[in-house]
Every structure is written in structure tokens, then in C-alpha cells.
């Protein structure tokens, strides 16, 4: 135990950096992904076919590709398109479009479950469609989206471990490096697992709090 604490003290900054990067990448990709998903979901639900078709194609292909392949593709393939991203940037890109595609589908489902008569009611009092979206449709969709959104967030934190393969210094890669130095495999992987668990339980708490806010009394 004393030995572990000693090694932990040595590795404290590396672990903290890894943890921070994991949280940062996860938070940023949840944010970007949700924004992409919101636009995609609105386009899929209310767009005319010239808009809907390309979004549908993009969402379906991204959802059909394993996240690891998405990550590798954005790291190695975007270079050919003249876009040079660092490991962190390409990881962020891959996780954002992954999250965006899933959220797009979730938001489409939520919006489609709202009766069209709600749009009529909004129009009848003179609201334009963008205002109907903001004040009538999205608040109602939020109640359905919240629980699934929390799930997607937790999935994303777990998926961020895959970024270790392209050399992003997130929590898993840092742990691997530490274990490589001190050979305390069991202890440090257990700690790593616990930290992921901690992040996701915080997300779950936040989700429950937010769900209560959007719920009808």
C-alpha cells in the first residue's frame, strides 16, 4: 500500500493531466455533438427532402461506423483532404460527429412525437417557425431528450478511451504510461476504472438534476 501511494505521488501530475484532458474532450465533444445533433434533428424532422436526404445519409453512415474507425479515419484520412489535425483535434472531431449523429436521431424522435397541432397553435398566435422551435417544440422535446442525453454523455466519456490509440494523452494513455514505468498493473488500472466511474456518476447526477428542471410538476 505504501509502495502504491509512493508511486501514485510520483504519477500524480500525469494522472491529473490525463483526467483533465478526458473531461475536457468529453465535455467539448458532448457540447459540439449536441449542437450538431440539434441541427441534424431539426433538419431531419422539418426539412424538405433536399436538406433531409444528405443529413439522413450522413447520420446513417456515421452511426454505422465503429467509433474507433471514425477516430482513426479522422486522424489518418483528413490529412489527404489537406486538413492537418493534431491527435486531440481529430479525436474531438471524431467524437463530436459520433455524438452528433446519435443525438440527431434522438432529437428527431423527440420532435416527431410532438403533435403538429402544436405548430398550428404557435402559428395561430403569430410566432414564426424559428420562434415556435425555440419556445414551443424544443422545450417539449427536452423532457424526452434529457435521460438519453445523459446516456450518450456517459458513452462518450467511455469512447474517449479509444483516443489513446492515436496518442491523445487522456486518462487511459497516461495510465498505460505509468504502468509501463512501475509495473503496478492491477492498482493503476483499477484506479483508472474508478476515475471513469466517478466522471460518469457526476454526469448522471447532473442529468437527474436537469431532468427535474425540464419535467412537468
Amino acid at each position: 500500500m505504501e509502495h502504491f501511494l509512493h508511486e501514485l505521488w510520483i504519477a500524480r501530475w500525469a494522472l491529473a493531466q490525463g483526467l483533465l484532458l478526458t473531461v475536457e474532450i468529453s465535455a467539448a465533444s458532448i457540447l459540439c455533438g449536441s449542437l450538431i445533433g440539434l441541427l441534424a434533428g431539426i433538419g431531419l424532422t422539418y426539412g424538405k427532402w433536399p436538406l433531409r436526404l444528405p443529413i439522413r445519409a450522413a447520420v446513417d453512415s456515421i452511426r454505422g461506423i465503429p467509433v474507433l474507425v471514425l477516430i482513426l479515419a479522422s486522424f489518418y484520412l483528413l490529412t489527404f483532404a489537406g486538413i492537418n489535425l493534431t491527435a486531440v483535434e481529430s479525436g474531438l472531431f471524431a467524437l463530436s460527429i459520433f455524438c452528433g449523429a446519435h443525438m440527431g436521431e434522438i432529437i428527431r424522435g423527440a420532435l416527431q412525437s410532438i403533435p403538429v397541432t402544436q405548430i398550428d397553435a404557435g402559428r395561430a398566435i403569430g410566432l414564426t417557425f424559428p420562434k415556435i422551435l425555440i419556445y414551443v417544440l424544443i422545450p417539449q422535446a427536452m423532457r424526452q431528450i434529457m435521460p438519453v442525453w445523459v446516456n450518450t454523455g456517459a458513452e462518450l466519456v467511455k469512447a474517449s478511451t479509444l483516443l489513446s490509440v492515436i496518442g491523445t494523452g487522456e486518462l487511459l494513455l497516461r495510465t498505460q504510461e505509468i504502468v509501463g514505468r512501475n509495473f503496478m498493473t492491477l492498482e493503476f488500472y483499477a484506479l483508472c476504472g474508478f476515475l471513469y466511474f466517478l466522471i460518469n456518476s457526476v454526469i448522471e447526477r447532473l442529468g437527474k438534476f436537469a431532468s427535474r428542471r425540464f419535467a412537468l410538476q
Partner: protein
Amino acid sequence: MTLLAIRGLTKNFGPVEILKGVDLEVNKGEVVSIIGASGSGKTTLLRCVNLLEDFNGGEIVLDGVAIGYTGAGSARRRLGERELARQRAMTGMVFQSFNLFPHLTALGNVMLGLTKVRHMAKREAQQLAMSWLARVGLDDRATHLPSQLSGGQQQRVAIARALAMDPKLVLLDEITSALDPELVGEVLNTIKLLAKEGTTMLIVTHEMRFARDVAHRTIFMDGGLIAEQGPSAKLFRNPKNARLKEFLKRANM
């Protein structure tokens, strides 16, 4: 003074012709009810006036302005969303299924249009919304969500929501059809009150006695056309059109 003039209005849903050339004028302060069998085009007519449906031919003139379209012939174009929204705000509509916003309280429902369309300050909007809720007898239910209100109460909130926008014309689309019989009275009494105050209303209804008692004039629609119209008392007492006679007999009038 003519407030609403509909001339030669036609509307198709695909190959089906729903409105086949409707002509109708409504004066300011007049209450006009529209009766007729299901599928005769009554609701579609109302939805066209509120620009919730596009229409294929003819024109709708509200307070001197042709609404919904610009240009004529091949240059005829539907107006943009912003302009349509502005014109829709001139008419108020109450729906058969209430269509209250379920995530907002009764007060919130009435306030939304005031703050987001009429751009009133929150405090001012709240006062006006409360006064309308009081007029439909629901000021003590202001903080309730629609799900906590009875059908009749929900419909009265919907009436307050439409009227608070100060529309020139109020469209009522079978507003008692989804209500339990014992709740119909409270809603109809609210409408009677509005009629007495000189609100211009176009009312699609299946309540024949209500149409007869409240509307100055009644229109009978049949197969996408106005088959007969006249002062309500006269039309119900002495119908000429054979289909109208049959329709009224079935409605026990």
C-alpha cells in the same frame, strides 16, 4: 364595414377539391357561424383564413389587405414566413383540441404571444394575460399546467390566449366538439360574452342552437361551396336548400 372578404376561394388536397370557389364577406362586429356535414370544407376554410393552409385560387382580403400571397397569375407567390406570421397575428384561432402548450402554465400560454410576437415587457404582458384569464373566469388557475385543468378550462385558456393578442377577427373551429357535454356550457357562455362585446367571429360549429342564438348570420356549406346563407333565425326557421333541410332534421332542429 367589411372586415373579411373571401372571393372565389379554391383549395385542393392533391386531386381532391375541398373548396370550390367560396365567396364570403364578414362585417366588423359580426358573428357568422358555419355549419355543414363533415368534409364540406368548413375547417379548411377557417384554416385558409388563418393561413395555416395555402390555397390554390381566389383571394382573402382582411381589413383591406389581400393576405397570404403576392402577385397574380403565374407570378403568384406565397409570402415568406415572417410576413405570414405577421398576418396570422391579425386573426386569432381556437382549435377543437385546445392545443395549449403543455410545458407552460395557463398564464404562460397566454403570455407567450404577448412577449414574443407583440414584444410587450414581461410585467405588462403578465397583467394583460391575467386580465384575460379573469375574463374567462380562470384567474385562480393561472399557475396551473394544462394537464391540471379540465377540458372546458383548457379551452377557455385557449380562448384567452387567442383574444389577448387583440386580433381583428377570431376563428373558432368546433371548439366544443372535444368537450364532455357538461363542460360545453361554460365555453359557449364565454363566446356569448365576446359576441356581446362586438368581437368579430367566424365560428365553425356543430352546436346548432348556439349558432342560431349567437350568430347574426349562418352559412351552410356543402361540397366545398356555400349552399345557403342568411340571418340565423331565418335560416334555421325556414331553410330552402334541400340538403340543409335534411341536415337540420338530422340535427333535430
